[in-house]
């Protein structure tokens, strides 16, 4: 009896094991139960993903939505849109556009910096054998354990103290933001590169060396290409950490150097303006492009595996 139940299960999971011959009315009940179960699963997925994506859809949809009449108050968003318009995109406040560009540049710089620190660190951590390696590894990955708010206040206070000491104040500067984000982002590169490197067969590199390549050349020509997906994934995460961060930048940003999420954060604390929807949609659209690109370049599995938050 159990076999029949089980065979019903097999088929629906999409396995190749065929249903063991059971005929006629005997099959009807499990079939019905199967159909019901699949329907419930699909309904649950539809519900959760609708709820999950609703805010994003409303923001992007609202950004194209025209006011019902021209006298309508600014603070009202018509959703679903009745008339489409690009009005809000034309009216994005210049500081928000500037902040978007700033965030983008900062993210790139952080990704690059995190790779410069993180890639050698990962190679060293995976390959070197010495006492205290565990401690070194723990220290380099410690930022993952620190809540971002704590990192924010820690760097602000560090900049105050360091400024009093040497006269260079980093709070409110691009450099200060860069250092704060670099601190948060580097462990992501270390994590994703180390993950790839552990699976890499060192003999390939040794073979290149034996065949006459210098150590450095073997590393550069054999190992680096293999670990590139790890580097890329790490860089992507480093970029994202910087690009979406609020709690660190809210302490370290200033009118001169402010990131997009912080600009939007302050815009929402004050008054509501639909052109913020337009700039938010630009940022969201950019994130969508990034995810698609990343999936093409390194594959989803690599993205999921090195998610080290």
């Amino acid at each position: 009896m159990g076999v029949r139940d089980a065979s019903g299960a097999w088929v629906s999971v999409g396995q190749t094991v065929p249903a063991i011959a059971t005929r006629g009315s005997q099959r009807a009940l499990p079939r019905l139960r199967n159909a019901l179960r699949i329907a419930l699963t699909v309904a649950y997925f539809a519900l959760v993903f609708t709820v999950l994506l609703a805010p994003l859809v409303v923001v992007i949809g609202g950004s194209f939505s025209a006011p019902a009449n021209d006298q309508v108050v600014m603070s009202y968003v018509q959703f679903p849109p009745e008339r489409l318009t690009l009005k809000w995109y034309r009216e994005i406040p210049p500081p928000q556009l500037q902040a978007l560009g700033f965030s983008f540049a900062l993210g790139l710089a952080v990704a690059l910096g995190a790779c410069l620190v993180g890639v050698p660190a990962a190679i060293g951590l995976v390959r070197a054998r010495f006492r205290g390696r565990g401690l070194v590894s723990a220290i380099m990955r410690a930022p993952l354990q620190i809540p971002h708010v704590v990192a924010g206040i820690a760097f602000l206070q560090l900049y105050y103290v360091a400024g009093d000491w040497c006269g260079i104040y980093l709070q409110g500067t691009t450099a200060g933001l860069f250092v704060g984000h670099l601190f948060l982002a580097t462990p992501f590169v270390i994590g994703s590169v180390a993950a790839v490197l552990q699976r890499f067969n060192v003999r390939l590199e040794e073979a290149a060396h034996v065949l006459g390549a210098s150590r450095w050349r073997a590393l550069r020509r054999v190992t680096l290409p293999v670990i590139m997906p790890g580097v890329f994934t790490g860089a992507l995460y480093a970029f994202i950490v910087s690009f979406v961060d609020v709690p660190v930048a809210v302490f370290l940003a200033s009118a001169d150097a402010t990131t997009f999420p912080v600009e939007l954060f302050h815009a929402m604390e004050q008054d509501f303006n639909p052109s913020s929807l337009a700039s938010a949609s630009l940022a969201a659209g950019f994130a969508i492009v990034l995810v698609v690109l990343a999936q093409r370049l390194v594959g989803l599995d690599s993205l999921l595996k090195s998610n080290t938050r």
């Binding site: 009896m1 076999v3 139940d5 089980a6 999971v13 999409g14 699963t41 649950y44 997925f45 993903f49 999950l52 994506l53 609703a54 805010p55 994003l56 923001v59 959703f79 620190v117 660190a121 190679i123 060293g124 390959r127 010495f130 070194v136 220290i139 380099m140 990955r141 410690a142 354990q145 620190i146 809540p147 971002h148 708010v149 704590v150 924010g152 206040i153 820690a154 206070q157 560090l158 103290v161 601190f183 580097t186 994590g191 180390a194 060396h209 690009f243 979406v244 609020v246 709690p247 302490f251 999420p261 939007l264 954060f265 929402m268 940022a283 999936q295 989803l300 999921l304 090195s306 998610n307």
Partner: protein, 284 residues
């Protein structure tokens, strides 16, 4: 043929260590100096800030509120997320990829944008409140901003994608052959789930729960935007104490407590992972 790979570590380690020790040392040290007015601090160190936090009902209420909200958020993320993660991990299909990418996407978009959308959805005349009023579930529109419920919803949004990714990793580490073996021996679907998949993923789920609890305890953005100055959780309090009240010492002490709490929980989850030999569900 001995290569000194350790040399590669020197510069990165120096950078990491300086940033870690420098930042953490300064605020921990400052947390021992009671604040005087206008951002000045007392000349001698003491435990005054910590004593105040642990005795003043205002701070204690904040600690309790943050803990309680984070517990609900973690439970909601694990509870609602597990079925999604389980099906995605066990259901090889083209759709799996699309759905997983969607999950990844939600964690790639800054929380501010998601909260922005949520506020519009939960407007007094928005779709959710219209539906709630029409169904007679509530008599007055549900307020998202400034209520504990709103903060919880916001935090669930902020962590849900991450929770699903974590649990997807957990279920993927359980070989499908175990499900198949149980099924061949006559276990029904329900029994495969309750006697094989759930028990084997339980340690991973506990670790996931602790991780989400941890991130929620430290989550700033959604708590700040949806708290609306009325529901103040610990991270929001830290920011306000630092930037509005200009009390560096007190802000430092609050941050130190949060840090201590988070590290203690992390050690607990590492212990659980060791105990049950969970092999790198996330590559930390």
């Amino acid at each position: 043929m001995k290569t000194h790979w350790g040399r590669l570590l020197v510069v990165p380690f120096a950078i990491s260590a300086v940033l870690l020790v420098g930042s953490q040392f300064v605020f921990l040290q400052q947390s021992f100096y009671p604040d005087l007015a206008f951002g000045r601090k007392a000349a001698h160190w003491s435990f005054a800030n910590y004593a105040r936090i642990l005795t003043d009902p205002y701070y204690l209420r904040t600690l309790w509120l943050t803990t309680y909200i984070s517990l609900i958020v973690a439970a909601a993320c694990i509870g609602f997320g597990f079925p999604i993660a389980k099906v995605l991990a066990r259901w090889p299909s083209r759709w799996t990829k699309v759905l997983l990418s969607t999950i990844v996407l939600t964690s790639f978009i800054t929380t501010v944008i998601q909260i922005f959308g949520l506020i519009i959805i939960f407007r007094a005349d928005g779709p959710v409140n219209t539906a709630l009023l029409w169904l007679g579930i509530t008599e007055r529109p549900f307020q998202l901003v400034g209520t504990a419920g709103g903060v919880i919803i916001g935090l669930v949004y902020a962590s849900f994608g991450f929770a699903v990714m974590l649990m997807y990793g957990v279920v993927r580490t359980i070989p499908v052959s175990l499900d198949e073996a149980a099924a061949i021996h006559g276990a029904s679907r329900r029994r495969v789930l309750t006697r094989v998949v759930l028990p084997l993923s339980l340690p991973g789920l506990i670790v996931g729960f602790l991780t989400i609890f941890n991130t929620s305890m430290g989550a700033f953005t959604s708590a700040a935007l949806l708290g609306g100055g009325r529901i103040i959780t610990l991270p929001v309090l830290i920011q306000r104490t630092m930037l509005l009240d200009v009390k560096y010492g007190m802000a430092g002490a609050l941050a130190a407590l949060l840090l201590l709490f988070v590290i203690a929980l992390n050690f607990a989850s590492i212990a659980i992972m060791r105990r049950f030999r969970i092999t790198r569900m996330v590559t930390v």
